[in-house]
Symmetry: C2
Subunit: 331 residues, 2 copies
């Protein structure tokens, strides 16, 4: 990407167009509420349940929006993606629906459920070592050899517009219920989901504050927002939140987030585990670690919800059963 | 009930009226679909996700419809209910919303999550021994002493109409997506949910077959449908499906079910556990044992879904974490 000009940020019309495009295939996930969770937070929480999305995370939205916009000629050569697992499933599923080939570069230590699902959508999976190899370089090489389109996880306005449909639905569903939102909490890895959501709220509900939430150690967006420039995570850092381990904010996503976000929040592993248990108990929803950081911020008091109405994105539910059982047993 | 005349069965207008009444408080739960589950079943499955309902099961629907129709004078004396746990939470939550007192008679071996939630809604819980005491007699006595209204779990047209809103939503949501249903599979304990749903489908989609699904041993409705008269379960019978242990079909519910159901299906504990794991893996939804019997029938082939479009009600998700982890680990 370094030699290419930065693509233009998507606008609200791009998000609306993505919403139309994904509508026949994506789930309009519900905005859930629990009196128990309201009580814990001291405010009113509305939880966008993206684990119920096709492929078990919001990533299908951006993937389908992007892959379906390729030319027929591009489609004939298939697509390539790199991903810790949710973008992988999104691209694999989109490719399967559109009848084209997909190769996905995934870390060898990705959750089994993410690897198996990606393969079950008919994609070829190529493994790499998350800590010693450059996944982008591997994917770029495969794409070049095959003349295939590389579907990046967040540095693409079509991806950002697709993920932004999550925010568009939150705005619509809140309005349908005459709810005005004080804040929206969104998890942040590379920043695709939150930059798309922030684009929507800036236009649709400009009085609503949008905050990123990251796990300890991978708080590069929070630190970058504070510094006003993109900062890297410590390369030796590890996190329970396998979906949120991007090494630094995307250039395009950060250019949007810097402009539109109210701030960046950070939660601990223990707060994430607690949020996963609360989602089990109170929402009957499986939420994966990376998908639970925003809920963790709301329930732990990292974000003070008292007397506020706050939308919280639970972004995905692809977690291995042994990990999930371990979290349930930690109480 | 023996000395009272059988109340009139509710009709579709009663269900519509219940839908209006519960709308501000109940969740219009989504009808989910998974390509993986479709593949396993050989057909197309649409899964009504009632674990996402307020209180974690469909029982809130009937409870709120019934309790909210009491006179002000009745409300002043509070309500009494007996329940294995989901009707308990439904009545307790409805009473809390309406600002009235509730006493709930629950088996001492009910799942902890059901007991704790019932108490958390402000209800007083009275325990009984599921296998040696008569819960109805205990509840009737409490109701008499307090002049409180007894909210029965299924032998009440208001309860049946309320639970029937589940079916009304399935019919509406299918129609919104231009889907015509070959069959609907619904779990069956006392028969309130399925008699309400059957009432809806007889009117709205008369070509759709409605089947009850029960766990082995508690197959009283299946046997009663075959015999043409109400038969009891073996009193020594035990089941993993704590929510479906009614001793025999209700008189009112069976009078409806006998007329409207296409048949009764029976599934094993192993099939139920497998369905719970599939709901975890593919839907990211917590489904309790009793809530998973209909999905079990669809996935195991007990009901042959090949080339059919089948709606499946997952009726609740109130299962203790240790039980759920054990089921996940059984693979």
């Amino acid at each position: 990407m370094a030699n290419l000009p930065l693509p233009t940020a998507p606008d609200i019309e791009d998000v609306r167009s993505a919403a139309d495009r994904i509508a026949p295939y994506a789930v309009r996930t519900p905005l859930l509420e629990s009196s128990h969770l309201n009580e814990i937070s001291g405010g009113r929480l509305l939880i966008k349940a993206e684990p119920l999305q096709r492929t078990g995370s919001f990533k299908f939205r951006g993937a389908f929006n992007t892959v379906s916009r390729l030319t027929e000629e591009d489609m004939a050569h298939g697509v390539v993606a790199y991903s810790s697992g949710n973008h992988a499933q999104g691209v694999a599923s989109a490719a399967q629906i559109l009848g084209i080939l997909a190769v996905i570069v995934m870390p060898e230590d990705a959750p089994r459920v993410k690897i198996e699902n990606t393969q079950s959508f008919g994609a070829e999976v190529v493994f790499y070592d998350r800590y010693n190899e450059d996944r982008e370089a591997i994917a770029e090489q495969i794409a070049e050899v095959r003349s295939a389109a590389l579907i990046r996880p967040y540095e693409d306005p079509r991806i950002i517009a697709g993920q932004g449909t999550t925010g568009l639905e939150i705005a619509e569903q809140s309005r349908e219920r005459d709810i005005s939102l004080d804040a929206v909490l969104v998890c942040c890895g590379g920043g695709g989901l939150i930059s798309g959501c922030a684009t929507v709220f800036a236009e649709e509900m400009p009085e609503t504050d949008v905050y990123s939430v990251e796990p300890e150690g991978f708080d590069d967006t929070a630190r970058s927002l504070a510094a006003g420039e993109r900062l890297r995570v410590d390369p030796d850092c590890r996190s329970f939140c396998d979906a949120l381990q991007a090494p630094m904010p995307g250039e395009l996503t950060f250019s949007i987030n810097k402009r539109l976000l109210a701030g960046g929040l950070v939660v601990s592993d223990a707060q994430v585990s607690d949020a996963m248990r609360q989602a089990y108990d109170r929402l009957k929803l499986i939420v994966e670690p990376g998908g639970a950081v925003a809920l963790a911020a709301a329930l732990s008091g990292v974000f003070d919800c008292r007397d506020k109405t706050v939308a919280v994105v639970c972004s995905g539910g692809n977690v291995d059963a042994d990990t999930f059982s371990r979290v349930l047993g930690e109480l």
